[in-house]
């Protein structure tokens, strides 16, 4: 007879995966937003931890804080084609499009959100997702090994016949080491450019590509702090 039940093991597996996912943002997905004319407030599902990028008909929407919207945009809420989204102080998992949209965009079921024809017609949110062990989970090539350490840690900690604090300490340490090894590699895989073909070893390469405006040193009028 097993010391731990399948339900316990499943619960600990999910807990381990959620903990890793919270520490390292690597589960990325997209969802379409059903846009209604005149409605600027939209609620996102629970599994959305953080927003990575929002595009409206293919054009990026830039995030602004609620304070910035009040300070720099006079706190008004006009209608128009959205150019920004306000991400804070709107409610839990709620964002506000600014300006409020003046059209309806209704996504169909099962559309390919990476297809340019769909991107051109929809408002798409790219987000970091919370792990749920089903659709959103760690990559297969590291999942089993990491979950083994995490589940073992929790199993040996739990009160009962299976408790073994020496084993708990071993698996706790192993889980930490694996989390750091795997997590750093996953983040590097997603975010770091390879720079094998176009390196960044020269100042010139960094300065001129992508092209940015270079203003002369005497451009502008100096002001003192507080002016």
């Amino acid at each position: 007879m097993s010391v731990w039940t399948d339900e316990q093991l499943s619960r600990w597996a999910l807990k381990t995966e959620e903990k890793f996912c919270q520490a390292y943002d690597f589960i990325i997905d997209r969802l379409p937003l059903k846009i209604q004319e005149g409605n600027s407030l939209y609620t996102l599902p629970d599994f959305v931890i953080n927003i990575r990028r929002i595009s409206y008909r293919g054009k990026k929407l830039y995030p602004i804080s609620h304070r910035d919207q009040r300070d720099y945009l006079d706190g008004l809420f006009p209608n128009g084609t959205p150019t920004n989204y306000i991400y804070d102080n709107q409610g839990l998992n709620t964002l506000r499009l600014f300006p409020a949209p003046i059209e309806h965009l209704t996504p169909e079921l099962y559309i390919d959100l990476f297809n340019p024809d769909v991107i051109r017609e929809q408002c798409i949110i790219e987000f970091y997702a919370a792990a749920n062990g089903l659709e959103y989970k760690m990559p297969d090539y590291i999942r089993r090994k990491f979950l083994r350490a995490g589940i073992s840690r929790l199993a040996y900690l739990a009160e009962g016949k299976g408790q073994n604090l020496k084993a708990y300490k071993y698996y706790k340490q192993k889980e930490q080491v694996l989390a750091e090894l795997y997590g750093d590699q996953l983040i590097d895989q997603i975010n770091q450019p390879r720079r094998l073909i176009f390196g960044s070893t020269t100042v010139q390469q960094n300065r001129y590509y992508p092209a940015t405006a270079v203003l002369p040193s005497n451009f502008g009028v100096g002001v003192d702090p507080g002016e």
Partner: protein, 207 residues
């Protein structure tokens, strides 16, 4: 070193040569786990394959048939005969233009988007031709006894250490398992550097 020798070494580490407490399957699973970790952490297995251009900036290479794809290393455009630049991050693409997903033209850059998706920008609306994808591959399953692991000889003991640690911890020998795992951990960090800096000494002129 062949896999047969590696298995013999592991049994020797566990004093299991005559008794065979650990089955052949136990050893194979432990070795596969070790190789999978080494391939993912060091990206030492580089393969190449030709992929057709598609009318989208996004490519999921696993869905396109590259089943052992881990991450993209480089892309060579066979139509225009040039490497695609790889200095931009996903966020840098927004600095080029804020509607880059709809940008049509000759591909010039690529960057990773997520664990599964690579972006090639701009994309061609009526694509022709293909590109050569250089990618880091996942380790193969079911190693044969006569084969040798595709790891530098001086680092092949990583497989032994990882597998021995895994088998010992299954028998609750945690102190011993921890020692072998520490050996593996130190070696994998060195091997990551070695793979990354493979040709560093050849940089005669640092430009």
């Amino acid at each position: 070193m062949t896999y047969e020798e590696i298995k013999a070494n592991i049994r020797d580490n566990l004093e299991d040569t005559g008794i065979k407490f650990y089955t052949e399957d136990d050893l194979i699973v432990a070795i596969e786990d070790a190789e999978s970790d080494i391939a993912f952490l060091s990206r030492n297995l580089i393969r190449k394959v030709n992929v057709d251009f598609r009318p989208t900036p996004y490519y999921n290479f696993k869905e396109l048939g590259v089943l052992d794809w881990l991450c993209t290393i480089a892309i060579f455009d066979n139509v225009r005969n040039r490497w695609l630049l790889d200095n931009l991050t996903y966020r840098d693409l927004d600095k080029l233009r804020d509607d880059w997903e709809l940008w049509v033209g000759s591909p010039s850059n690529w960057c990773p988007v997520s664990l599964d998706i690579t972006a090639i920008v701009p994309y061609q609306s009526n694509p022709t031709g293909n590109f050569t994808l250089y990618y880091a591959a996942a380790a193969c399953d079911s190693p044969q006894d006569d084969d040798s692991p595709l790891i530098a000889t001086s680092f092949q003991s990583m497989i032994e250490n990882h597998a021995t640690s895994s088998l010992l911890e299954q028998q609750e020998e945690f102190t011993k398992a921890g020692e072998y795992f520490e050996e593996f951990f130190n070696a994998i960090l060195e091997y990551q550097d070695r793979v990354k800096n493979q040709a560093r000494r050849d940089l005669l002129i640092h430009i």
